[in-house]
Every structure is written in structure tokens, then in C-alpha cells.
Amino acid sequence: MNENQNLAQLIHELAHYLPSQAPLKDFIHHNTLHAFQQLPFHKGLHAAQQLFGYQTYLTLDDYRQRYENGEISEASLALAFKKQDDVSMNQLFSLEATSQLQSKVGSYRLQWKKKLGFDLDARVHPLLFRIVNSFLDQGIAIWRFPTNGLPFLAALRQMESENTASIFTGERARNCFLNPAFKLIDALDLLVGDQSAYENYLYDQQFAHPGYSGMIAQIANRPSLLVLERAIAFEDFLLLECLLEIDTLDQHHGNWIPSSKFGLETYQFDPNNLLSTTEQKLKAIWQDAYEWTYYNQVLESLQQKENHELLEVGSIGIFCIDDRECSIRRHIERLDPSFLSFGTPGHFNIETYFQPFGSSQRTKICPAPVQPTHLIIEHSVAQKKDKEWHFDARSHGLIVGWVLTHTYGFWSALKLALSILWPSKNTMAVSSKQHMDAEAMLSVEHMPGQFTPDGLQIGFTVAQMTQIVGGMLKSIGLQKGFSSLIYIVAHGSSSANNTHYAGYDCGACSGRPGSVNARAFAQMANHQLVRRALRETGLYIPDHVHFVAVLQDTAMDEFSYFDIQQIPMDLMTVFEKDRALFSKACEQNAIERSKKFATVNSLANPRSVHKKVQLRTVSLFEPRPELNHATNALCIVGRRQFSRDVFLDRRAFLNSYDYRVDPTGEALSGILNAVAPVCGGINLEYYFSRVDNEQLGAGSKLPHNVMGLLGVANGVDGDLRTGLPSQMIELHDPYRLLVIVEQKPQVVYEAITRNPNTFEWFANEWVRLVAYDPEAHYFSVFEQGAFEPYASSVTSKRAS
């Protein structure tokens, strides 16, 4: 009994280190090395490398090259060097990188493999992957796995006893498999023999294919991640793998003798007590110096800029904090200096599920960890559906296939030629507009008694709406000075032939466009009863103020507006003026973005550049419809005037916050609780995918093959690839996120200590934190758990 408990504990811990990526339909960024977050950043990175063999930094040569290019300044290097002991300056420049690193995980089975003289994994993996992928398949296979509603092992056992072909080659493994009393521990006894080596064995085995293991561990915990739910326990997957191994070994060796008999060396798996190597220490210095060279530039330019409020406010726009909104806001404000923009997470404080018209399924449209209790239903007339014959199962049939190839095959030729020579809108491309029909009605307001059978409340009551609207406006510090028109700008993205499309939409809406949220928010804020209730809480929104919902397509650089007919007539001229402004800004934004696309000439006529940028979203052959969050490095929490007009190069998440209305830091706490995991998660996923694209990222997306709609793999028998493909991260500079908060350091400190999870992000420096005291005008850096005045901020910032 005790044995089994130990084993269960062991498996639980093991699963914690596996990639925690959901199936493709929900792509949520997270810290790839979340399992090491309880350690300080550099310690965690060193441990991850020693244990798993991941590259966790750039290479020494790369850093040195950046130093040569001036991307790392001498001053920052000297400063970073001072903080580390027992390495010499000389080593920074001359130490040769170790060419052969042996990670701990994998080393046990490696010795064994050498003894055996054959690659066990190569024999076992293909069939194992095939079986489990078929079981979990969400809609690729035409002939589905006959689960008969049973969980994984039971379904397989039934198949094993009824099928013409066995999973196994030999009798021994088959008999063990068919015996329900035969557990994982028994399999390990047969395979390994010595209990002290079980941990090593299982880690080595599972981390030989972290993709599938991680996926199964995820699904085992939350079967609702799948549309077609499948019951699979992680332990059952391990049992199948062990039995397949026993079977293969039996074939190869006659009856297999447990591996512990070979006298293999075991290793200690303990992330907390590892000593950093010299090379790792050097890399930590280089990384700090690299980051601070950049941070210094930012802090200096923030310090030098004039900080004053707008004298006259034209229109107001509330955008998502997404780093891609950073440039469009700059362009709008540059074209119209009276325009004032705000930033807040793009679900606009609305936590709900959404059910599209004609669908029986719900999608979550708020941050992933939230469990909503509300539902917004779309009421429409038209179903948005296009048929694409090329994806039809019948084209793979024998007879229909025969007819189709003789006829439809020639139509394919035409479509092929057209889609390559003249790309245009097509059924394959994903458009941000598909999320919601602009003409549809949304059930935003709750009607008494309307609940779904499983207890979700349909829509929101006036009180709830008031809380949503009031809460959001308070958090961004918009309490007075309302303009006549206020735009609620959600964002989404369009792309073609893109398996990771969900990762391009709004992160705060669980990887969907934010259009429903923006529309719902505008409806709530325009609601007369909500306005009245808000007045009672002290927030006075004048009657002439009207909220307009907008969806910005970040790949197309296009704004689409909702419910225009509800804009009061007298505001139409303002609206038309703003609309022209936005479309001009979109064009400029497209030009700015095009500078990073080698295949677009950004100096051409603006309209044609914009057109070319838009074409990328429907071109099958374009692996980079947009660059998404690449180059993100900053998060500024403060008033717009704090960072307005500073060129941040689309690197910054911008969250509006007014320290004056939040003296206790309560609102700040709420903001940082979201910023750390969301922006920090995005940032670190980009960081790790960049520094080790092969193990922590997905590699090049060009050879990817879609596996059961769950994930992608290379070829047909590879492991699932997690993380981001190289095309998404190649332009990324691996800086940690620097969060700059415009608030007194002591208030910030209190704000982050309220939530231990948030505190861990900052205290362990997985995200860096700087506070700007808006009254005393100086920066402080949060280091080793405390705020220290920022070294070069001697000259104080000019007051407003």
C-alpha cells in the first residue's frame, strides 16, 4: 500500500514538470518552466538545465556578439558582474562553452541503452503515440477509436480481447495487460526491479516524450479541455508504455531481466540543491547585463519625458493591455493629440462564457484561470459556416475518392493555382470577425429566471453590470473628464493555414477575439439603469456620453465597429471624424509593422503596403501573418501621460492606473495579480521558446503535422511539440518582463504581498519590477525582496 502511495506521489511530482499546454483550440501562454518558479530565476534556470538539459540562456558566444554590437553596455556588464562572486571578468570573455552536457534526466536509461545496444524508445514510441493519439483524437480520424464510452485502459482491454490483432507481440506483456490487478508498480518490478531506481526510470521514460506525457497529464486533470471528452489517467498511460517496453524487450532478449541487475548508476532528482556551474554563473551575469542595458534606456527615456495631463480631451479609447496595442495607440495619439487612450485587460472585466448561435458549445472569453458563472448567448439569423470539400472525410474513401479525383481533382488544381498566384479570402483562413456576427443580438442583460440547466446565469443583472463597468473604470483611473464618444477597442487576429491561430487572439479572453466582451461592455455602460446606479456609487457619467464597441484586427490593421446605429445623431460627425482618424492610424501601424517583414517594402505607397500586410492573413504560404507578441519586454502600469509619446516599439503591455485614486494599492493589487501571470506568462513563454526552440519551443512550423486536433508534431510519428514555433519567436529578444508601476514603492510592496503567488513572481525575479514614485520622482528597483533606489536615477523627473 505504501509503495503505491509513494508511486502516486512520485507521478504527481513528475507531472508538475511536464509542459502544461492545452489542446490547440485553447492556446494560453504560460511560464514554460513554471515548475521551477519557487526558485529564484537564475537558480531555477540552472536547475532546469542540469536536470533536463534545456538551454535556458542564449549561448556565451551570442552574448559576446551582442556585447560587440553594443546591445550589452559595458556599464551594465560591470554592474551585473559586481553582484556575482567567484567568477572572473576574464572568464566572461574567454571561457569556452562546454560542448558535451549530460543532463540528469535521461542518464539512467542512457547507460542501459548502451548496454542493450538498441534504441528501445524508437521501437516503443511510434505505436504508443499512435494508440494514445487515436484515443484522444478530436476529429481527424474517420474511423474513431472504439472507446464505447470507456476510459482508456478499459477500452484498450476490451479491444485487446475482441480484436483480431493484439497490441503486443509476445504473450507475457499481453497477459499482464489483460489482468486488471496488474498495476504500474508490478510493471516496474518487472522492468526495473529495484525500487530506488523507479523514480529515475519514470522521469527518463516520460521526458523522452514530454509532449504526449504533458498533454495526457493535462487531460487527465481536466477532461473538459476536450470537446469530445476522454477519460484517461496519467498512470494508465505509464502502465501501457511500460508494458510495451516489456513486450519489446522480451522480443529482443528472450525473457527480460530487470534493469537494476545491470548495476546502473542512479541520480538524485532534487532541484533545490544543485550547484551552479561557472558557465551558468557567467550566463546569469550576461543575461542581467543584457536586460539592464535595455531597461536603462527605457527608464531614462521615461525619466526625461515631460509628464503632464492633456489640456483638452477629444475622444477616449479603452484598449487591451496587449503589447500589440502599444503602437496603434501611439499612432492615434500622434495624429490627434487630443485623443486619450487607456489600457486594461481585453475581457473588459466581463467574466463569462459565450455561446455562438447554432452551437451547443460554450467558449470561455475571460482569463483562463477564472471559472465564470455567466453565459452570453448570441442570437442571430445566419449560421456562419462554409463547407470545404478538401477536408471532407469522403475524399479519402475509395469509391468517392475515385470519382472525386477524376473530377474535383481538377478543381483542386484551379484552387491551388489561384490561392498561390492570387491569394484572396477563403474558407481556410481564420478571421477575427468569425467569432461573433456583428448583426447578432447578445443576451447581455439578465432576465429573471434565465439560467442554463447546469446553473449558469444568462446575462448580467443591473447590479452586476454596474460592478463590471464601475470596477473597470476605477481600475484604469477614468473617473471624470469623459468624452462624448468612448471607444471600447477589443482585438483579434486573422491568419491562414495556422495551427496556432488561437495564440494570436486576445490572451485575456482565453485566446479568442474580444469582440463579444467589448460589445457587452459598451451595452452595459450605455444602459440607463447602470448609469444611474453608477451615480449612486459616486461615478458620474454624463448623459451625452456614448460607448462604442470596436474590434481591431491586429494582423489586418483594421477596425470594425458594432452597433453604429445606436450612436446618437449629434455625435455622428464626431464618430465619422474618429473613424477617419483610426483608419489613418491603422495604415501607419501597418507600415510600422511592415518594417519587420522582409517580404514587404515598407517604403512603397502606404495604401499598397497596408494591402500587402492584409494579404498575409489570407495567404496559405505565409507563416507569419503577424509577429504576435514577439519583442515584448515591458509592462507599464500608470497613467497614460507617464509613457505617452515615448517610442516603445510595440514592446510594452500598457495598463492604465491612476495612483491618485488608489492610495491603498488595492486596485493595483488586482492589476498585478493579472499582470504577473498573464504578461509574465507570455513573456517567459517567448523567452524559453527563443532560447531553446527545439526543446522548449515547437521548432520550425513548416514540417508540422496536425495530430488529432490536439497538437502538432513533426512527421507522422513524432512527439507533440509544445511551446511556440520558431517563426513566432525568431525576432524576439529574450528579456524578462520589466513591470514599471507609477506608484510609491511602499504601496507597490504592499500590493504585491497581498497575494503570495504574485509575490513569488516578483520576489524570485521571474518578472522584474520597478516603481516610480510619482511625487518624489525617482525609480526604485525591486531586488532580493526589497525596493532599492535605482542607481542612475539621480536627476529627478520633471513634475507636471
Binding site: 481527424i140 480520424a141 532560447v691 521548432g699
Partner: protein, 621 residues
């Protein structure tokens, strides 16, 4: 339009572009892609213009002899071209698809590390494809056939720093080599069948064909069967089907045109090309229909259980090619041609848009979600009994392993008891002994003399197997390959009419390649650990050495870059019709040699780099 201009143009374009592309700098993405797609575009233009002209002229097949590469009294190795409906259909298909896909790849592969290599390989593939479809005799076809095999290997192993692409490239290459046995032996038999090197048109001349077939019906059947083996290997028919899904390792567009369309339909081309030769052999035709039907049925079933999009399309395509084989067997040439073109375009497009299936299906599921919770009928339950078998691909992949490669490994490793030096001297001694015998041939009794070729060929074969299964020394394996060629050459020299000049033709290229390879390896050993026990990925640090070594390997396996290619065919012409065993072992040796050399290249230079100071993919990815 003059036919020779047309053929020279169609073939010369990719050759010229390929040579130019080798010298373009890696950074010049634009130049590389423009060169590739304009080549294909001009080919497309040429084939359209010429087809119009050709139809206007009466649509008669046109054949012409290009050049004699080697000529002796009763032997003529010549390059020959043939243009007819079949050629033009394939030429149009190839040019159109290559044109579209190269434009596609121009953007798709932007910033990919192997951008240049990709376009080099595509042009190289284009040369092979064009040579095959324009070939007028088996010898010319075989040149293209070999180029196709090597370029396929390079495309599948495009991501050469990962393990699976490299292993799968070797796997596909090994199946292709089995197909090569078919071609080599068919060439040999045809030579004896007609007593000269014939063109395809001559083969089709009904009167003489019937005469020959009447005399030699079993040889006729054998030749046809060899054609099938070659065609089945290239078109992924039973029992070779499992290579096709595994070839989907390169960038999606390359998988789309090569394994979705152009490469897999080459088997059908070979059957159509030789149609008149076997169309009156009823046994063969019945067999072909059965094989086609079995392939179609089994791969349809396998396709249905595939839970990955590319393997699903691959098996669906194999099933259609099975039907195409039936159509060919029934003599429905035109139906087959339409089917080939339609299947090629359909599958190419399906593969190209395969990443879109994620968003498409997920959207579709929002609206029509069907999960079969319904009670299954008795029939369904009966069908379900075949699920696991289909998931295991009807054991096709395992069977090749079990019945072919494992026994070879057993033979090769059975010798392990003897150490290298000992074996080496033994071999050298036996070769020397052979040479002495050869010098004193006149003294040998006829009985002995007749058996000697077989003895030496068998000895050579064992060396090839040893080279193929060697797990340790690279140089030893390389040397064994060379010795194998030497043994074959020696073996055949005991046969009648052997001219010593043939040795020179055959061995010159081999020896040169071996010496160069040996030198390269010796040089590398000074700084690196190299062995055959693993994949070492040294190309990461030694790209140039790797490239030259690839040429060495090609030279050693008799690839048409050295005179040895002609020599190979030449020595085969000395094997008599009654020396079937000799022919078989010689052909088999050549095949295994090719595998052994590619294996050396792959293990030393490809796969995950052993030095992991940079990003390295997991072995399973």
C-alpha cells in the same frame, strides 16, 4: 518546333539552374527562388507550346537517340529520349506543380536555415523527374530513377539535425533501393531477352515482342514482375506502402508535391511506359489487378484510422494509386492518366492546406458535434475487431523489418567473433587469390571456372552486408563497400567476353570515391569522435566536409556522377541468363552497398549533434 530543342530545353533548364543554384550565396533567398520557379515556368511554357505543336503534327510518339556513352561490339550504353502522350502529361503535371510549389515555398521557407539547400534539392529532383519521363530506354530512365531516390532522401532528411527525419529518410531510401533491384535486374534480363540494349519503342514493336515472348515466356513474366517491384516501391504499393506517410518529414510543400503527387506517381509511369511489353501476359495482369485491389482496400482501411492529417492523406493517395494500377492493368491508359493528374492535384492541395484543418474542424465542431454514443450494430462491432490491425498498418512496417533487415543484420553481425584486422587480411588474401586465379585462368578446369563467379559474388555480397551492419568503425565500413565492388568485378571477370577495360570503367569511380572518403574520415578523426554506433550530426560543424562526403557516398554507390554507373550496367551484361543466382547476388550487393554508404553518411553527419552547446531537438521530436 524541333523535338530535340524541346527535350534539351525541358531537361537542360533544371540542369543549368541546378548548377547555378549551387553557386548562389546562402543569403540570396530571392535569387534562389526566382531561379527555381522561372525554371519551372519556362518548362511549363515549353510543354504547353510543344504539346500544341505535337498534336498539330499528328500526335505520334517521337523517339531519338542522344548519345552513346559506351560502345563495344555487342553492347551500347546510350542515352535515348521518347516523347509521347504519357511523357507530355507527366511533363505538364510536373512543371505546373513545381511552378506553383516553388512560388509557395519562396515565402513559406523565408528565413529557414536550409533555404538554399531546399531549392537546390528541388531543382535536383526536377532533373531526376524530367529524365525519367523523357527517357527512351531503361538506361536513361535508371539515371533519373537514381537521382529521384537521392533527392527524396535529401528532402525527407531536410531537417537533418533531428533524428526522425534522418531515420525515415534512410527507411524510404532503403525501400527505394529494393525498387532499384527491380530496375537493375529488369535491365539485365531485357538485355538478354533482346540480345541488345533496347529502347521502349522497340519493346513495343508487337511482332518481335511476340516472337520473343513465345520463346521466353517465363523470362517475360519475370521481367514484368521486376517492373512491378520497381513500380510498387516507388508508388508505395503493397507490400511497401508504409514508407509514404513516413516520408512526410520535410516542409509541408515539399511533402505535398513529392509524396503527394510527383514521386508517388512515378511507379504508375513505369507501368504505363512498359505497358505494351506485358499487356499480353495474362498472369501478370491478373496479378497486377489483385495487387492493386488489395492495396486499394487495405490502405483505405488504414487511412480511416489515421489520427494525423498527413498520414491520412498519404494512405488515401496510396489507395487511389492502387486503383490506378488496376486501370493500367485493364489497359485503360487514358482513364489512368486523368486519374493520375486528378489525384496528384487533389492530394497536393489537401496536404498544403492541412494545417488549416485545425481551425476548420474546431469551428465545424461548434455547430455539428456528433459523438457516437449510439448503440453499435453487430456489424460495427465486427468491423471494430480490425481496428488494432489497421492502427498497426496491417504490420506492413514491421514485416519489412522482420523479413528483410533483421535477417541481414543477423548475417552481418554473425561475423562479430572475428576481429577487423583478421577479416581484412582474409579478404585481401581472397581477393589476391582471385586475381592469381584470374591470371592463370587457362589452367583452371571449366567446372571450377564456372563456379568461381558465383563464389566471388557471394563473397562480395557478404562484405556488403558486413559493411551495412557495421556498428563501429566508419572507415572499415567504407572499405568493405569498396572491396565489395572489387569482388563483384573480379567475379564477373571469370565470365566470357570480359574485357579488362570494363574493370576500369567500373572501378575507377569507386576507387577514387573510396580514397577521397577515407582521407576525409581520417582527417576528421583527428578532431572528432566518429563511429557508426549512433547519429553524430557532425554536419553542424563540418558542412563542407559533409557535402563532399555525400558526393563520395554517391560515387561509391555507383550513382551517375562517375563512370562506375555505366560500368555497373556494363558488367551486368556479362552475366549469362543461366546465372540467375549470380545476377541476384550482384544486384543485391549493389543495393546494400548503396544503403551502407548512405547509412555512413547519415550516421556520421546527420541527426542530433553530439555536441549540445547549442539547441538540440529531442530524439522523439
Amino acid at each position: 518546333m524541333n523535338i530535340t530543342y524541346f527535350v534539351h530545353g525541358y531537361l537542360g533548364l533544371p540542369i543549368a539552374s541546378f548548377l547555378i543554384s549551387l553557386f548562389l550565396p546562402v543569403k540570396k533567398e530571392g535569387a534562389l527562388s526566382v531561379l527555381s520557379y522561372s525554371t519551372a515556368f519556362l518548362q511549363l511554357l515549353l510543354v504547353c507550346l510543344f504539346t500544341g505543336f505535337w498534336i498539330f503534327q499528328g500526335a505520334e510518339p517521337i523517339q531519338f537517340k542522344e548519345i552513346s556513352v559506351y560502345r563495344s561490339e555487342n553492347y551500347d550504353f546510350f542515352i535515348d529520349f521518347l516523347v509521347d502522350k504519357l511523357t507530355l502529361t507527366y511533363a505538364f503535371l510536373g512543371a505546373a506543380l513545381t511552378f506553383l510549389i516553388t512560388i509557395y515555398s519562396r515565402y513559406y521557407l523565408h528565413r529557414e536555415a536550409g533555404y538554399k539547400r531546399f531549392f537546390n534539392t528541388i531543382l535536383f529532383f526536377n532533373i531526376g523527374y524530367s529524365t525519367i519521363i523523357f527517357s527512351g530506354n531503361m538506361e536513361t530512365l535508371f539515371i533519373g530513377w537514381e537521382i529521384l531516390g537521392v533527392s527524396s532522401f535529401l528532402l525527407i532528411a531536410f531537417y537533418r539535425e533531428r533524428l526522425l527525419p534522418v531515420k525515415n529518410a534512410l527507411k524510404v531510401f532503403s525501400v527505394y533501393r529494393i525498387g532499384d533491384i527491380g530496375v537493375i535486374l529488369a535491365m539485365w534480363l531485357l538485355h538478354h531477352f533482346w540480345h541488345e540494349n533496347v529502347t521502349f519503342l522497340q519493346m513495343n514493336q508487337t511482332v518481335s515482342l511476340h516472337e520473343h515472348l513465345a520463346q521466353n515466356s517465363s523470362v517475360g513474366l519475370l521481367i514484368a514482375t521486376l517492373f512491378y517491384i520497381a513500380a510498387a516501391a516507388k508508388s508505395a504499393q503493397l507490400p511497401f506502402s508504409s514508407w509514404l506517410p513516413r516520408a512526410m518529414e520535410g516542409p509541408t510543400p515539399s511533402s505535398a508535391i513529392f509524396y503527394g503527387s510527383m514521386s508517388v506517381h512515378i511507379g504508375a509511369f513505369l507501368l504505363l511506359r512498359t505497358l505494351h511489353f506485358w499487356e499480353n501476359q495474362i498472369y501478370f495482369k491478373v496479378g497486377l489487378v489483385i495487387a492493386g485491389l488489395l492495396t486499394a482496400l487495405i490502405s483505405t482501411v488504414i487511412s480511416r484510422v489515421q489520427s494525423t492529417i498527413k498520414s491520412q492523406i498519404a494512405y488515401a493517395s496510396i489507395a487511389q494509386i492502387g486503383l490506378i494500377f488496376i486501370e493500367i492493368a485493364l489497359g485503360w491508359e487514358n482513364v489512368a492518366l486523368v486519374h493520375i493528374v486528378g489525384n496528384a492535384f487533389l492530394r497536393t492541395y489537401q496536404l498544403l492546406i492541412s494545417p488549416s484543418i485545425v481551425s476548420y474542424k474546431i469551428r465545424e465542431q461548434q455547430y455539428e458535434l456528433q459523438e457516437a454514443v449510439v448503440q453499435k450494430s453487430a456489424f460495427d462491432r465486427w468491423v471494430d475487431r480490425y481496428y488494432m490491425l489497421s492502427l498497426k498498418e496491417w504490420n506492413l512496417d514491421n514485416a519489412l523489418f522482420k523479413w528483410l533487415w533483421n535477417p541481414l543484420k543477423k548475417i552481418g553481425r554473425g561475423w562479430k567473433v572475428l576481429n577487423f584486422r583478421y577479416i581484412f587480411w582474409l579478404k585481401a588474401f581472397i581477393l589476391l587469390f582471385g586475381l592469381i586465379l584470374r591470371a592463370n585462368e587457362a589452367l583452371l578446369p571449366t567446372e571450377v571456372k564456372q563456379r568461381l563467379p558465383f563464389f566471388f559474388a557471394l563473397w562480395g555480397f557478404l562484405m556488403a552486408v558486413k559493411a551495412f551492419t557495421e556498428r563501429d568503425s566508419v572507415r572499415k565500413s567504407l572499405t568493405l563497400v569498396m572491396l565489395n565492388h572489387a569482388s563483384i568485378s573480379l567475379a564477373l571477370s571469370f565470365n566470357a567476353h570480359f574485357d579488362n577495360a570494363h574493370h576500369i570503367w567500373y572501378l575507377s569511380g569507386i576507387l577514387l570515391a573510396w580514397a577521397l572518403g577515407y582521407w576525409l574520415l581520417t582527417r576528421m578523426r583527428k578532431t572528432e569522435w566518429i563511429s557508426l554506433d549512433n547519429f553524430y550530426g557532425h554536419i553542424y560543424e563540418y558542412p563542407k566536409t559533409g557535402f563532399v562526403f555525400l558526393l563520395v557516398c554517391l560515387g561509391l554507390s555507383g550513382f551517375p556522377i562517375t563512370p562506375s554507373f555505366v560500368g555497373e550496367d556494363l558488367i551486368f551484361s556479362h552475366i549469362e541468363l543461366n546465372q540467375l543466382g549470380l545476377a541476384f547476388f550482384t544486384a543485391f550487393s549493389l543495393v546494400i552497398n548503396g544503403l551502407a554508404t548512405m547509412r555512413i553518411y547519415a550516421r556520421v553527419f546527420l541527426g542530433p549533434h553530439v555536441k549540445n552547446y547549442h539547441q538540440i531537438a529531442k530524439r522523439s521530436s
